[in-house]
């Protein structure tokens, strides 16, 4: 049989994965860019988004599109609130010390994971997609929902871009990122900006989690891979750089989709993790030019 359909399929799958990855990684990158801290609990916020979507689907009767729409709004809001709380209660008190923040967010990630295990349970659970329409290609049918994922991700990233460039909040963020002390002196409420950024970063992960659930399943350990992949994207793209992160997400999402057609997933993971460690060692500014440094 011809290889072209395989490649097309792999590319489509890669694009879907790249979209989700782009959202998740941008959340991590934003937090790092503005606050100079690494949030290890980021994958857990993604997982909570997915679990939230499942919860909405179980609680809200009627057409799956309704519960999905609710989940897409409510789950990120709740996750954002949770993240803001964590920021206030913990990160602010350790003064965003970079090392202590990593250790603390590891703690947060264990707590979220285990609480989910105790309530949601150890099983993976599926959620119906909001619509079922299949797009016909000459060789195979492809779920229109997957195109929807790509669309939502692109729209959200475009919005984020505009917000960062043109809104007052974006200005505050950029000012705080540029120089924390000066921002403080200019009366910018740095503490609140930080909470907002941390919450916003978590919300992006949660949106990604909601989007991905009809495609895969919700599980309390599902945050691991997105966290690792986001790390890879953020590091390869240059820490804190938004264009670099987007470029890296597309590159890695696509190549991962293609690679997993030909190689075992474990081997692919070994190779990509090793690559990222070496990028950090030899080219800490990332592969796409110079951005922030750790």
């Amino acid at each position: 049989m011809d290889i072209a359909p395989y490649l097309l399929l792999a590319t489509l799958e890669g694009l879907v994965q790249a979209s989700v990855l782009m959202l998740t990684a941008l959340g991590l990158s934003l937090v790092f860019g503005v606050m100079r801290v690494v949030n290890v609990a980021h994958g857990e916020f993604y997982m909570l988004g997915a679990v939230g979507a499942w919860l909405c689907a179980t609680l809200i009767p009627g057409h799956p599109a309704i519960s999905f729409a609710v989940a897409l709004i409510v789950a990120p809001l709740i996750v954002g609130l949770l993240a803001a709380l964590a920021d206030r209660a913990i990160l602010q008190r350790i003064n965003y010390n970079p090392e202590a923040t990593i250790v603390s967010t590891i703690g947060i990630s264990y707590i979220i994971q285990q609480l989910t295990l105790m309530t949601f349970g150890p099983d993976a659970r599926a959620v119906d997609p909001p619509f079922y329409y299949n797009i016909r290609f000459p060789w195979f049918g492809y779920s229109s929902y997957k195109f929807f994922i790509i669309g939502v991700a692109v729209a959200l990233v475009a919005t984020l871009w505009l917000l960062m460039k043109h809104s007052k909040m974006g200005l505050l963020m950029r000012a705080t990122q540029y120089d924390r002390e000066t921002a403080l002196n200019f009366g910018i409420p740095v503490g609140r900006v930080y909470s907002a950024v941390f919450a916003f970063g978590a919300m992006m992960a949660a949106v990604a989690g909601v989007l991905v659930v009809p495609n895969s399943q919700a599980h309390y350990l599902m945050g691991h891979d997105p966290l690792l992949m986001s790390f890879i994207v953020v590091i390869v793209g240059g820490l804190g750089s938004i264009p670099g992160t987007i470029a890296a997400a597309v590159l890695i999402g696509l190549s991962d989709g293609l690679l997993s057609v030909f190689f075992s997933p474990t081997l692919a993971k070994i190779a990509s993790t090793l690559l990222v460690a070496l990028v950090l060692v030899f080219k800490p500014q990332g592969l796409f030019g110079k951005a922030g440094r750790i």
């Binding site: 690494v38 090392e99 250790v103 707590i111 285990q114 295990l117 075992s264 460690a277 950090l280």
Partner: protein, 319 residues
Amino acid sequence: MTIPNKKLFALCLVVLALLFMAQFVLSNYLVLALTRILILAIFAMGYNMLMGYTGLLSLGHAMFFAAGLYAAGLANYYGGVSLPIAFVIGILGGGVLAFVIGLLALRTQTVSFMIVTLMFAQVAYLLTLYFSNVTGGDQGLTLPTASRSFSLFGLAVDLTSPMVRFNIALTLFAVVLIGLFAVTQGPLGRLFVAVRENINRTEMLGFDTYRIRLLAFTISGAISGLAGALYGLMFGFIGSSFAEFRSSIEVLLFTLVGGPGTLLGPLVGTGVMTMLIDRLSGMTSAYLIVVGVLLIVINLWFPKGILGTIRDRWVPWLK
């Protein structure tokens, strides 16, 4: 040769004596528990040398423990190498891996260093899974019955006896403790602390801080490998769960609880934490939640750990 910090040295001897006496008082179950604590405390002491004294926070030390475990265990399982030699191979495995990883990872600092060590450890863990036809992967390998005893200098040693295991663990614990006493309380330890306190100043006093950090990293890895080899050979089992991220976090937690940068802190932290985790995991499967809460609580209110707090308040020589 004069002994620095004599009070601390005396305290170490007292602690060792008390541990030795413990086997005559405690039940078999508790002796077994204490054996595990001693081995994990060796791991934590190796970690503490790097994190506590030299100020390098690694998130990947499970890979060195696992390197020792696998180097020793596989040498015995496939090569039929006798236990004492397998043990030495395990120490070398941890040390050599640490030297190589250190060469790379020490080019980075603070947050990058944490992430790089985490990533390398993740690679190591995934490798144990990928080569599961050799390593046994998640299921692990049980060492053959022949490996449950060995003879050293004509002395037959039976590893199925809890008392024998305890005394081997205690002996090695004592060797590592006294060795680390010599390292940390002497001129070399002064340099480790100098690197932790102010790396630029140390460089400008004429020291190649990269080499100092590499030495600390390698010693730390070799001690972690020693602990891993000991664990695998004594209990006759090697498995990839020891290489998981969780092991790296646990050794960090042991060190944080006991007091980073104190010689006896790792023993205290490991003792307290393993007892606590054992209790809890009997009650709930979600004992990791306690690990999570503790990581946060210690960071917020108790950053010096148990012995570190005692040192700062009352006993300055406890370092």
